[in-house]
């Protein structure tokens, strides 16, 4: 399917409206984009978290595709079981359809509690796509810090206190961790660059074996910005090179978008309440460290992509 807005506008959304996501939730937008990009039949799974909770309040479901939620840390192993069943039943001739399998997990369910199950599923080579919708904290339980929360950000468990100014650790580079699994396809994306994202989803679904896409999904409640600014926040994360768009296809790293001009990190963090305390003079060094970290990671990435 060609990725034109005209064609997409005629396609039926496979995640219906009427679910209970917050206004401005970028994660639900990302899921719609994923399901629109998938051409054939899809079976989806979701880890416990925002997207599972808001879409499946019994007796309702927003999913127009077969869906399973199991627990917090195990969507990767759950979907690997579904895929294994598919392989077995297909071999027996009980199923003749081509079906794709997609697991969704938030950053808590992916970077932290679910990383073992994810790593195992990727290593085993199941034919599945794992999408991490990374909103940089445990938003569903009330904005607690996760392994994906940026350095300096205030969360409910890493508040900006009198003594400690927000999170004291840098975030984990999960996309690189997944690339190190040597799986056929790994990418980083945002819902704002929708064509880039959806093309990556299509590529990921077309490979034979496991694939992983990490999509940054700004959260108005957790990041503290106006709920009509989510897409803008995603764009700024890319333009500041905090969240570069790239893909790793069979081990080859490639930038899929290069900002014309790399904007300072303050253009992004200055718009979010979770970083407000960093703008105080005594916390200036945290911004400098954040900027240095972004610069380093960006240079590393450019080198990987050139090599």
């Amino acid at each position: 399917m060609a990725l034109s807005l005209k064609e997409l506008s005629h396609k039926r959304d496979l995640l219906s409206g009427g679910h209970r996501a917050c206004a401005g939730c970028a994660a639900s937008t990302a899921i719609r984009q994923v399901l629109l990009a998938a051409d054939g039949p899809v079976v989806a799974g979701c880890a416990t978290g925002c997207m599972e909770v808001v879409t499946t309040i019994y007796p309702y479901t927003a999913w127009r595709v077969p869906f399973i939620h199991n627990a917090f840390e195990n969507v990767a192993s759950t979907i690997s079981g579904v895929e294994a069943a598919y392989q077995a039943l297909k071999r027996q001739g009980k199923i003749d359809r081509e079906i794709k399998f997609i697991a969704f997990g938030g950053d808590g369910g992916t970077y932290d509690i679910g990383i073992q199950a994810l790593s195992g599923a990727m290593e085993r080579g199941h034919d599945m796509l794992y999408i991490c919708y990374d909103n940089e904290a445990y938003m569903n339980t009330g904005i607690q810090r996760s392994g994906a929360t940026p350095y300096g950000a205030a969360t409910s468990t890493s508040p900006a206190g009198k003594k400690i100014p927000g999170k004291r650790e840098f975030r984990k580079d999960l996309t690189a961790v997944l690339a190190a699994h040597d799986i056929p396809y790994v990418a980083q994306a945002v819902p704002s660059n929708w064509r880039d994202f959806m093309a990556k989803v299509q590529k990921a679904l077309s490979v034979n074996g496991p694939s992983f896409i990490n999509v940054l999904t700004p959260c108005p409640r957790g990041w503290r910005f106006k709920d009509n600014e989510s897409i803008e926040m995603a764009r700024l994360a890319v333009e500041t090179c905090f969240w570069p768009l790239f893909e790793v296809e069979n081990g080859t790293w490639r930038l899929t978008y290069k900002p014309k001009e790399k904007r300072p990190i303050t253009d992004w963090i200055g718009r979010q309440g979770r970083f407000r305390h960093l703008l105080k003079e005594e916390n200036r060094h945290i911004i400098d460290e954040l900027q240095a970290n972004v610069d380093n990671k960006w240079e590393q990435l450019l080198k990987r992509c050139e090599a």
Binding site: P41, T56, P66, F67, T78, S80, G81, L89, A117
Partner: protein, 393 residues
């Protein structure tokens, strides 16, 4: 027809799995379950089964993959022990609550700490409230027979609950026994094909598994699980009768051994029942009125049936190979005593905790229990309600 072979408990369970040909088997190694999976792995490697053998990175993922595969419409089996079962506990509960007919061999082993690889029932008893049917086995033959029946019980439309078949670690799992096995065709036609009503792979009829269930519905879904457990009792008996026609070996909720006219009785689970039988036989020869109830089905607990079987008993000892720390005796004891309370049976019930961490239990120790019971009958009172067999201090 079937044949007579010598197999260990693990080989017996592996043989049953190979003959049952599950579509998906997720597995993770833990002693003493390992050899069971080695046997199955050999069958996969030789092409004797067409199973998707998913070698996951933990027991938590084993049960998670089992849930996914079962919801996708596959027949799913797995096996574990002790800490492995404890690690999968979250998903063990989810499997039952989603009404997924997964069948698992639990090769019983003591829970850590201290770490110990030998048999007790702390693992299966830790899972007693997870909503799984529990079939306990005295020997390898029963492990094999229970697994085959387990699949048919689990997949029955009136049940749709997962089934756990226990096998005492090392005592059964690693001990060679003479046993009868059915042929592949007999096993397969006995269990038939698994064709569930709703599956994830039925993409034209999408369903949502595992939704968020709030106070307005959750309770009703739990109530349905209770009803399924109640219905399971009838199905277990039906399947047992059918299995008898096929194999000549009958299975009920429990076995009454020398209970005719028995005044003193023991209730026990698993391989210990075999040792108790030995003691009962010896004492019966001397004219003592002793008997055994070997409980096969711990969940659903056969309350009414036990009451009928215990009529005429004057004193009862309940054997527990696990403990409920701070509780009133072991799990089987509290269950049995609660069953008796308010019934028209009135006799003393004593609890004997034994065999933790694989401590052996001898025929002589069982004979001593029967003489304890004699003393209670004579004196009309109980010295110690909760007793520990074969422990120092």
């Amino acid at each position: 027809m079937g044949r007579i072979v010598a197999l260990t408990g693990n080989e017996a369970a592996g043989t049953a799995m190979i003959q049952l040909r599950p579509d998906v088997v997720p597995a993770f190694p833990i002693t003493p379950q390992t050899e069971l999976m080695h046997k199955f792995a050999d069958a996969v490697a030789d092409g004797d089964v067409d199973t998707e053998f998913v070698l996951v990175e933990s027991e938590h993922s084993a049960m998670s993959a089992a849930v996914g595969a079962s919801a996708a419409g596959a027949r799913v089996m797995t096996a574990t022990s002790a800490n492995g079962f404890a690690l999968m506990w979250e998903v063990v509960y989810i499997a039952a609550s989603n009404r997924l007919p997964i069948v698992m061999t639990l090769v019983n082993r003591a829970l850590s700490a201290p770490i110990n690889i030998h048999c007790d029932h702390s693992d299966s008893m830790g899972g007693r409230d997870t909503g799984w049917i529990q079939l306990h086995s005295e020997n390898s033959q029963e492990v094999y027979d229970n697994l085959i029946q387990g699949v048919k019980i689990a997949e029955n439309r009136d049940v749709l609950l997962p089934v756990m078949v226990t096998s005492d670690g090392f005592i059964l799992s690693h001990t060679l026994e003479r046993m009868d096995i059915l042929n592949d065709q007999q096993v397969q036609s006995f269990v038939g094909e698994y064709n569930p009503e709703h599956t994830l792979l039925d993409v034209d009829h999408p369903v949502t598994f595992g939704p968020l269930d709030l106070p307005d519905y959750y309770f009703e879904h739990k109530r349905q699980q209770v009803l399924a457990m109640e219905q399971a009792k009838r199905v277990i008996l039906e399947v047992g009768r059918e299995f008898k026609k096929l194999s000549g070996r009958g299975y009920e909720l429990f076995e009454e051994y020398q209970m005719e006219g028995a005044e003193r009785a023991i209730i026990a689970l698993g391989s210990t029942a075999g040792t108790v039988k030995e003691a009962v036989d010896g004492l019966r020869k001397g004219g003592e009125k002793v008997g055994l109830i070997k409980l096969r089905v711990f969940r659903p607990f056969p309350k009414e049936e036990l009451l009928a079987a215990l009529k005429g008993v004057k004193v009862l000892a309940v054997f527990d190979r696990s403990h409920s720390f701070g509780g009133f005796g072991g799990p089987l004891f509290t269950e049995v005593r609660s069953t008796l309370y308010g019934s028209d049976l009135s006799f003393e019930v004593l609890n004997y905790i034994y065999g933790l961490g694989g401590r052996n239990l001898s025929v002589e120790e069982i004979e001593e229990v029967f003489s304890d019971l004699q003393e209670v009958m004579k004196m009309g009172k109980v010295q110690e309600r909760i007793n520990y067999l074969g422990v120092r201090g």
